[in-house]
């Protein structure tokens, strides 16, 4: 009973934000899920009403509401288009956490979010096991394990086209780095995010190369801790807070001006979700969160700002240009309004011929754990993206979020066409002097 009261009290705190929804339905026009299903409970308006009715006790089915809230990419398309300015994603994240707390986590999720993810060394051991075992991993745990963006189980899920896991994660390869800034550079902390750490190691290496080339001093802690969004979107606020705490500790004492990440999802999480959820923390912790959040920058934005200064970066080759297009990650374009920076980075490499695809900012359908919980729906949305990419005739598609990269690889390889998927920073890194030489020789 007391717990129910607590659920209702916490939900009531969302009232003011919920009341802003005028139920106009304009979010139907942009919701990638509604486009597939035409179901009101898949679009923001319907889900907001469910939270409202749960809060006002018109509907007494927290499980049912939780299940429907999980059918959401958290892509923010609705919030961006909403005429009434309803912070839809904020509401959904909080509602998931509140209902999650009330219902409790399934034991397996508890194990992952509370025990595994906050213990990086244990994770590394598991990763080695998983990478070596290729599919021997416990079947039952699979889908949920994968719901951390870590994806160390990716190879064994259904018929998807997966990316292999590295045996040694990026942070194992790099070790702790603490280099002073060169002339004109600043000191930056580098936070690769789990997917770069465990799958897209090349991207991590490229990012560090570019930062070094620009003369920035780099700090990388010896361990990778997840940014917490998988735990939080599963409704686990406690697990989330533990992860946040660890990252704060990692970067607190390093004397950095910026925290740079090549993962749009991580940037958006640290910049917007952390401060949002900080209101549940003690005052002192709130300040720590705000301080790090304010320092956090997406790598494309950070590098694009330096583009004019970093003039004279050599351009190589004069032969045929490769066609390239760009997919806007929701967490960059919708959450942080960054869309020009990555395009400028791509534009800086004259070996490519840029072609805009139709609806470049339509969600790819990944949505973190959504992809695991609702793979068929995720694939339907992803296939539209694949079609738009193919229609440009480009050989390469760049984006700025490793989570999108996983989805693009999966969806494009389904079409049987071989299209390269890369991060905008990787395209830009090809212009570095040492790379240009390597390619020419």
């Amino acid at each position: 009973m007391a717990e129910l009261q607590r659920l209702l009290t916490l939900l009531k705190e969302l009232d003011d934000q919920l009341a802003g929804c005028m139920k106009c339905g304009m979010c139907q026009a942009v919701c990638p899920l509604y486009a597939e299903t035409g179901r009101e409970m898949d679009v923001a308006r319907g889900k907001l009403v469910l939270v409202e009715h749960l809060s006002s006790q018109l509907l007494n089915d927290p499980q049912g509401v939780q299940k429907r809230l999980e059918r959401c990419l958290l892509c923010g398309s609705c919030a961006k288009a909403c005429p009434s300015g309803v912070p839809v994603v904020d509401i959904f994240i909080k509602a998931r956490a509140i209902i999650g707390e009330y219902l409790g986590l399934p034991p397996i999720k508890k194990l992952i979010f509370r025990s595994l993810l906050p213990r990086p060394r244990l994770m590394d051991g598991l990763q080695r096991l998983a990478a070596a075992g290729q599919g021997l991993f416990s079947k039952k745990a699979d889908p949920i394990l994968g719901s951390s963006c870590a994806r160390f189980n990716a190879p064994v899920i259904r018929d998807r086209h997966y990316l292999p896991l590295a045996t040694t994660p990026l942070h194992g390869e790099l070790g702790e780095i603490d280099e002073p800034a060169g002339p004109g550079g600043t000191k930056v902390g580098f936070y690769p995010g789990c997917l770069v750490d465990k799958i897209f190691l090349d991207l991590g290496r490229d990012a560090i190369d570019v930062l070094r080339h620009r003369g920035h001093g780099i700090f990388v802690p010896g361990e990778q801790v997840c940014c917490g969004i998988p735990a939080l979107s599963s409704g686990d606020r406690q697990g989330f807070e533990r992860l946040v705490g660890r990252i704060l500790n990692q970067f607190e004492d390093a004397d950095i001006d910026y925290l740079i990440t090549p993962c749009a999802t991580c940037t958006a999480t640290i910049r917007t979700i952390w401060p949002l959820m900080a209101e549940y923390l003690p005052q002192r912790e709130q300040q720590r969160v705000r301080r790090l959040a304010e320092k956090t920058r997406d790598i494309t934005e950070f590098l694009a700002e330096g583009l004019d200064k970093a003039s004279g970066e050599p351009q190589h080759g004069s032969g045929e240009k490769t066609g390239i297009t760009y997919h806007d990650p929701c967490h960059l374009q919708k959450t942080l309004s960054i869309s020009q920076a990555p395009r400028r980075l791509i534009g800086a490499n004259s070996n490519y011929d840029f072609r805009e695809m139709g609806a470049p900012d339509r969600c790819c359908g990944m949505g973190g754990s959504f992809n695991l919980l609702h793979y068929d729906l995720s694939r339907q949305v992803g296939q539209k993206k694949a079609e738009d990419i193919l229609a440009t005739g480009a050989d390469t598609v760049a984006t700025a979020c490793p989570a999108c990269m996983i989805q693009l690889v999966d969806q494009l390889s389904r079409t049987g066409k071989s299209i390269r998927v890369a991060h905008a920073v990787q395209i830009y890194a090809e212009t570095l002097p040492q790379r240009a030489q390597k390619e020419q020789s």
Binding site: G25, M26, A29, V49, L59, G64, P83
Partner: protein
Amino acid sequence: MASKNVIRAFQDLLGRENVYTEAADRHAYSFDSAVLDPVVPELVLQPTDTESLAGAVRLCNENELPLTVRGAGTNLSGGTLPAREKGVVLLTNSLNRVLEINTEDLYARVEPGVITAQFARAVAEKGLFYPPDPGSQTVSTLGGNVAENAGGLRGLKYGVTKDYVLGLDFFDVDGELIKTGARTVKCATGLNLAQLMVGSEGTLGVFKEIVLKLVPPPAAQQAMLAVFDSVDRASETVSAIIANKILPCTLEFLDNFTIRAVESFRGAGLPTEAGALLLIEVDGHPAQVEEDARKVREICQEMGVTELKVSQSAQEKESVWQARRDALPALARLKPTTVLEDATVPRSKLPAMVRAINDIANRHNLTIGTFGHAGDGNLHPTILTDKRDSEEFERVERAIEEIFDTALELDGTLSGEHGIGMAKSKFMEKEATRGTILYSRRLKQALDPKGILNPGKIMGA
């Protein structure tokens, strides 16, 4: 709750996945865009072809389950709220095929769930034009547009949805197919049932297929933004433009409150002290557009316009229109609840109506921004409030009633385009005679004796 057997019959007909019985699903269909209390249906059905649509209607009738058809659920009058008992919501949004766009005979055939803007785009790709453009066009369905007789910004010159309905196939309450109208512009065959269905809000039949008229698109457009220091000036300008035999395709109006809201929302440099803004667009043959635009400019000058911005490029046209597009978002953000009314008066009564709305706002101590379609007298007084504040909301309800009374005193109508639904049915008697309502009810009684088709809507309380 509908019996297990009935539910099974629906599942057999439509497929299990298209019959929603769980509470959390049904609650997602307990509302539309009107500011009214939710009503939760007992069953939600989503047929995927028109044959099972007919079957679903028949089953509802046989089992005496009151049925409410729902397109996108964006109507502003509660037209898609289900009956309080045993209510079934029937979704048409999976019936979304454009069946034909005929470029020789200038018509299109569509299923009712096709989304308005997507249809207009498909038509434009074939080099033709479907003018009705309600503000909700990116999500509204054509079935919903016909059932509400939706208007839009182009009403003055191009008319509203009813002017484009050539023919209609619909199911009566027994699920029997009725074909009416034709694919021709002219049709004098039998009763004009197609037009009876326009604006019927799901009370007389369920649309299966709609034949819509298409027109050639105008070759050129020009948009202008004109600033006036008073509503009267703006309104006299509207009358003068029309008296000069110019029919702009759009003639939109923003009052001072809305101008200030838009300016603080976008900061595009609108004059916040202005009494009214007019957005005027003329279209047609390039030479004609040139000529009309020149005359409109002259009229505006003569009427004492304080500022006049003429769009030279497509980009400038966008920026002129931005102010109008921002009106609702800018207002909606000011307070939690947005009540969008649509009282309509003859064009010449516009200043009197705007003045009356401001009086009502002051008298009840409410915030009301007014914008709308000045060309056809269709205003949208937008009341900004918080429905959780019951004392204030009572004042809102009184204000709404007074707005209606004023519109009627000025020879206007309760609704220009949003329909009657639940929200206004109790006011019907103010506008229509008792006889009118009885006639409508007898018609309904004859066609739907058990009162299955969207009961409680339109026909008065």
